[in-house]
């Protein structure tokens, strides 16, 4: 049943919008209405931005990061520390770490984690290219930045095995209490890890 009376184009737009994360048919209808009211300020610029990004942003052939240039801005930044590669699951992890200015080295994006239940094995991830990069003479340390989930840690172990015996320092991000977080809402695993890794105050 159509959501509007304005014809198939608008209903098609609403059905596309309702596939966006956080949107359903009602909120997509509201968003379409909002955009129709602000055609020049929102709707047309959004259409242009979507086309432009769809055409220009692609995966970096070195690290797998998404960028309009290849190699990406991070891989081609001469000021970054080329001896440290932080391995993450996804592009959004790179964005988060960069917003935090937490890492001054390079990245390697796996594109997911090993997940037998979802049919994702090591060959579906960018592990071969990580192995190649890790053999480069300048690389000294690999930081494992996968999620602290079962699949994330399985992947971290697999990657570690693949990189062993090359004299690389392999580290992982610390587990602990999130900064600004309250103890009573944290799970037992995090609390145990945070206590075990306690440090002098």
């Amino acid at each position: 049943m159509p959501r509007t009376t304005a014809g198939p184009e608008l209903d098609h737009l609403i059905s596309l919008l309702s596939k966006l994360p956080g949107y359903g048919p009602r909120s997509a209808t509201r968003a379409a209405l909002h955009m129709l009211r602000k055609r020049d300020a929102v709707m047309r610029p959004l259409a242009d931005a979507l086309s432009k990004v769809a055409e220009t942003v692609k995966a970096c052939s070195v690290c797998g990061n998404w960028d309009a240039s290849d190699p990406c801005t991070i891989c081609s930044d001469e000021a970054r520390d080329r001896s440290v590669i932080c391995v993450v699951q996804d592009v959004s992890d790179v964005w988060a770490l960069e917003r935090a200015r937490a890492h001054r080295g390079l990245y390697h994006i796996l594109g997911g984690v090993i997940s037998p239940l979802d049919g994702i094995g090591p060959d579906d991830l960018r592990i071969d290219s990580l192995s190649e990069r890790a053999s480069e003479i300048e690389v000294r340390e690999i930081i494992l930045g996968m999620s602290a989930t079962v699949d994330g840690q399985t992947t971290a172990h697999y990657v570690t095995e693949r990189l062993e015996g090359r004299g690389l320092t392999i580290t992982r991000m610390a587990h602990g209490v999130p900064v600004g977080g309250e103890l009573d809402v944290l799970d037992e695993g995090t609390l145990a890890a945070a206590l075990k890794a306690r440090r002098p105050f």
Copy 2:
């Protein structure tokens, strides 16, 4: 501060997405990521649909409804009852009533309500064109479908005054308990109106 490392185009897209209702910077970033993963299924079709709707959908010169054709599909539908016009605030009200198949007559969209606080007076609404339409020989009844808010009811009174003395039947939608609604969450005004307008069972 940029949300991503993928260059200004993607950050511009995210800033546009974050202006949509229900979206902020974080959810807009997630939406952009989702679309980048589904370029052919979501991103490009969405860009095309937005451009197409922005170009084709416009206000009906008769009733103010949005449609790709002018007069709109409803105004040009010969099967509809031309003697009854339902006056609503907004296009989304037409869509809601049409989804409910609640009204088989025509509509008139005011484009808002009189709201002195927001600087919206009668001249900012499509009241003159309603007055003209109401003078047509075939029009017998005007249904006031404004919101049951102070501004909505002020507007309803103003419209009624403008249309008085022409032999038109002017009605309003009934107040009462929403179908499927529970009594204990309803406000006093609705409960009082529902009791007052009670009907034989």
